[in-house]
Amino acid sequence: MQQKTGAQILVESLLKENVKIVFGLPGGQALPIFDAIHGSKLNFILTRHEQGAAHMADGYARSTGNPGVCIVTSGPGATNIVTGLGVAYMDSVPMVAITGQVATNVIGQDAFQEADTTGITRPVTKHNFLVKDVKCLAMTIKEAFYIATTGRPGPVLVDIPIDIQREVCEFTYPNKVEIRSYKPTYEGHHGQIKKTAEIINSSQRPVLYIGTGVVVSGAEREIVEISQKADIPVTNTLLAVGAYPYDTNLSLGMLGMHGTYCANKAIQAADVIIAVGARFDDRCTGKVCDFAKKAKIVHVDIDPTAISKVICVDIPVVGDAKTVLRAMLSLIDKKKRGEWLKTIDEWKAEHPLSYDRNDNELHPQYVVEKISELVQGEAIISTDVGQHQMWSAQYYKARHSRLFLTSGGLGAMGFGFPAGIGAKFGYPDKEVIVITGDGSFQMSMQEMAVVVSNDINIKVVILNNQYLGNVRQWQEMFYNKRYSHSCLARRKGCLEWCNSPDRGKCPVYIPDFVKWAESYGVLGMRVTCKKDVEPALKKMLEIKAPVVLDIRVEREENIFPMVPVGASLDDMLIRMNG
């Protein structure tokens, strides 16, 4: 039997879990771990901020489906990954985070860089562990990966005090893991599946509403089969962008606050809604009591707590999406629903997604549309949070799932760039484009050092409106255009009540993203007019190196359609004046 230190056990265990890449940043209480990593087979990516490490692990996990791993130190290292854990937790992303901790004999003494890491991260992890005995370490790592990747996935944190990292014990990695208190349900209840099939067979206006659960369980094929067999239109959540092909008449696009007119109309008119792996987020439902009032609701979800949490459902089916849908397929009748689909086509024609395509302004939607065209929806798009995120979700036609990475539930600005980097490490040969805003990008742009030092080819497209655009839009619509602290060009000396961008008089925007990119040895380009967009994007895609595009878009462009907060899906605004 081999004797190994806790740190070596950790590294060996990660290798046994088939971990290829780890993101992180060293620190005092994690030094034995980093010593064990040095010269090991683990590919360690040194980030410039721990938050970046967590988002990279997340982006890697979202794009590949394998758990993402990050290792950071105690105290500030651990607190810096909290946002990353929160993002992964809300969006059901499998992640394992390892944190160093002060020695067991000083825990609770306010030691240098001590934080109650398991306490702080409890509400943002699926589970966490504090390892107090080196003999339990290997099993804890095994359990951490098992918990992170099974059932409804999520982040799991393992906190390892420095003395445990140094202690020695015999190492064998367990083959099996069995947790008596944790047994996710995969098979759906047969009776419930039968009831669902019956209700679908007798329905006139059914709608499939699909979310991340479909992507996690790999049930995209089953959704296509069911929808085609029974002629059921499909709407997707933000996190399921790409999970259902756009180029069919059954695709409704995204629903909810910034969803399509036809998706929201269809939901409101439906007589049966089959929600699969979606959780009735408030951004999807609008005013809950007015949501799909005419519909019987079926909810297929692996997480029993997601069921009847927001909307009281008629038929709950607890189980894995793919397994449940497979079982359901043979019970569903082949059907044509000409009339229902005709109504939907009318809605599609009535208000398709649109912006002013004919003027000469540089609309941000145009940029996303062009990107989508040029890469034919095959590139991985990683977005930040805000207006650019919604335009990306609306206009990027991803060819399949796991191509659109975005922080949906937590909505954390600063996610996009590091998540894109993580995805690029997962798929080195795939085009990865980060679509970000000037506000979001400034929250994690230090990770450009990771791009350059690892020689990775990633593209950053900044839809720069010099505002925290979504905040500004809400201030324009609901706060009488009082642009309180949403202008990022603003400087001392600006008009106190400035509420309109005046290009001539506005101060020069900082930072100069082009010069900033150059300081990393990266090509930066600025685009200020519409006709230059396409050539710049083409050039960006031709270059086999990182590129930063600073695209100065129409400053006060708004996202439409829009369901204002608290309004029903029936009350969507198609444009500014209603």
Binding site: P123, I147, S181, T305
Partner: protein, 163 residues
């Protein structure tokens, strides 16, 4: 409405914190709580009494079930159960009312566990109502101090499972 939830869980550090965080994050005050090892030392049983709306409690019990260290959650609210709590009560006692107090203690089948010149400490077990009733009748004599345990409960007979 008063609800009683019985939770079987791994006997490990941190589990109590996970459970109390769940309640606290939703702004629920736990009225009574008791935790102890079961016949299997690796498993603890926790009995929680809270006041809440039924649908919210259903969500909370589901979320309790979701916690990795929790083995089983039973909502005892509508079950036939035996409930017991224990209270130690120190009552003011003057010579003149000594017999009266001892009489009350006898009637409630409480026990005297300590006695001094001016006070008496009594131990009473029973469900919440019985303990409340006893406290009410001794209140006029002056209660110096009390210490009550949380309620422990089991279902009757073969009704192992809650609804």
């Amino acid at each position: 409405m008063r609800h009683m939830v019985s939770v079987l869980m791994e006997n490990k550090f941190g589990v109590l914190a996970r459970i109390s965080t769940l309640f606290a994050a939703r702004g629920f005050n736990i009225d009574s709580l008791s935790v102890s090892e079961t016949e299997d030392p690796a498993i603890s049983r926790m009995t929680i009494v809270v006041k809440s709306d039924g649908s919210i409690l259903e969500q909370v019990t589901k979320q309790l079930n979701k916690l990795v260290d929790i083995i089983k959650v039973n909502d005892f609210t509508d079950c036939a159960t035996i409930e017991r709590g224990l209270a130690l009560i120190k009552i003011n006692m003057t010579k003149s009312c000594r017999d009266e107090i001892i009489g009350l203690i006898g009637m409630f089948r409480a026990r005297i566990v300590d006695i001094s010149q001016d006070s008496i400490v009594t131990e009473i077990t029973g469900d919440e109502n019985k303990i409340d009733a006893f406290m009410k009748v001794v209140m006029p004599y002056g209660i110096k101090e009390t210490n009550r345990t949380g309620i422990v409960a089991l279902t009757r007979g073969n009704t192992n499972k809650a609804k």
